[in-house]
Symmetry: C2
Subunit: 97 residues, 2 copies
């Protein structure tokens, strides 16, 4: 049977965020926004979903123009990414991988 692909990760923007957080210790909102070329609104919503699922942690210091939101991948998130990759691989047998 076809393997289920974690719907939380199977989204262009959320996957991009998770991908970035795989490679760095932490990343702030502005950095993620630039790297993913997303709008602030969309990013805000998707980060909140990832945080709600426990895939990332998200801490905000300050408010207004001084606000800084810092995101980190959690162990849960890393495991979910690994599971997602493993599931994906089953979709591409017979293709150059």
């Amino acid at each position: 049977m076809m393997q289920e692909l974690d719907p939380l990760l199977h989204s262009q923007l959320r996957l991009a965020v998770m991908s970035i957080l795989l490679g760095v210790e932490q990343a702030d909102f502005v950095y993620l926004k630039e790297k993913t070329e997303s709008t602030a609104g969309n990013l805000s919503v998707q980060l909140e979903k990832l945080a709600a699922a426990g895939y990332i942690s998200k801490e905000t210091d300050g408010s207004g123009a001084k606000a800084r939101t810092i995101c980190r991948m959690t162990d849960t998130g890393r495991a979910a990414m690994q599971a997602y990759v493993d599931a994906l691989k089953t979709y591409f047998t017979g293709l150059n991988q």
Copy 2:
């Protein structure tokens, strides 16, 4: 920069259909429906999108209860899948692949 993931392929059901068609010469509607555990309505819509993009060919013989819709992957579709995999891989550096 993050690579764009072909939105037509970045859908659970359409990707599953394409994945199945990678492995077989052809597949009919009922087979795809069973393998993907999708509803007929959803499958009908998504097959139409893949066909409209030229990623699969879709030919229907007969009508009513005797209708048989047969799908095949096109060269365009295969190339799109390859590009999709290549783009995806860039998302997972630092993970067991």
